[in-house]
Symmetry: D2
Subunit: 100 residues, 4 copies
């Protein structure tokens, strides 16, 4: 679906890439921390709160990437009269993110 929109590679600027990678490493650390809490038999409510925090952190990265995507790929597509398809695809991910 929406093949024509999909480039081989997306060139993100180094700064943005670094920021996204830092966030992903933090999420990885959160996952490890939660595993440790479960291992240690920590209180369920505290673990659930950490899981909610992890989910929110992942949503934040997704929102950031969506913004980059709209400013980059979707904007280009609209300028090159391939907007329809790019917007269809975009709505698909927004829908999934909202109904997740």
């Amino acid at each position: 679906m929406a093949k024509a929109v999909k480039p081989g590679k997306v060139y993100r600027c180094d700064e943005e890439k670094e920021l996204l990678l830092t966030r992903m490493r933090r999420i990885e650390g959160q996952a490890r921390g939660i595993a440790r809490m479960i291992e240690e038999g920590r209180y369920c409510v505290d673990v659930v709160q950490q899981l909610t925090a992890l989910s929110s952190a992942a949503d934040e990265v997704a929102l950031r990437m969506l913004q980059d995507h709209i400013k980059g790929c979707v904007t280009d597509a609209i300028r090159e009269e391939r907007g329809e398809e790019a917007i269809e695809e975009l709505m698909g991910v927004i829908r999934k993110a909202i109904h997740r």
Copy 2:
């Protein structure tokens, strides 16, 4: 908040603990995989979809722990006439999970 409800340790059966740990290791792997996708300049929409999947996986673990919590701690609290407090606390986490 809700100190009286909070036990020092929660004793989960080994089987449940193993299942939860397996899921957390998988989420950790997903986080690492997404970092790799960003590193390789993979298409934003594909990365966002993986982030949504990671969020959903974390929500699933949270739901499972909530269920254990209600069947364990909350049920005990209700039987021992400490239900009010335990339910207040439970609603707090459900609210956060819904509004996350």
Copy 3:
């Protein structure tokens, strides 16, 4: 599903009932207001914001009813050793509310 848990009627105190009904009338009013905005050709972003507010208001009522449900029906079920079933059912609605 969970038939045994389901009573013919739930007796809510008048005060709680009034509060819930007031909220539902407000949501009905929000829906009418949004229809009017659409009719008048109001700016999409403003309409979407009102729709999000309406969704949140409905979530709030749902959370409130969930709390009443846990304090009432689920607590009774646990005391009468019918907790398992009531918790299964409860998790079903929480799951749907989270994944909505």
Copy 4:
């Protein structure tokens, strides 16, 4: 915020307008139906399920309007080199819809 993007009126085609209005009338009906359920003392879980359905219906209308907005206002803004602002504003509503 984003004043320059905001038109006095948005001209939706009659067909789209009718569809949106039909959906809003249905949501208004759902709200009334839920009030009746509360009035009649219907089972909490059933009421909560109807509230979740109402929320989802409102989300669907919001997604549809977001799509119209991106295809209309945002696309125009990008073509007229006012994309930055329109995308900022768009991300604001998406963020709120996801975190609602």
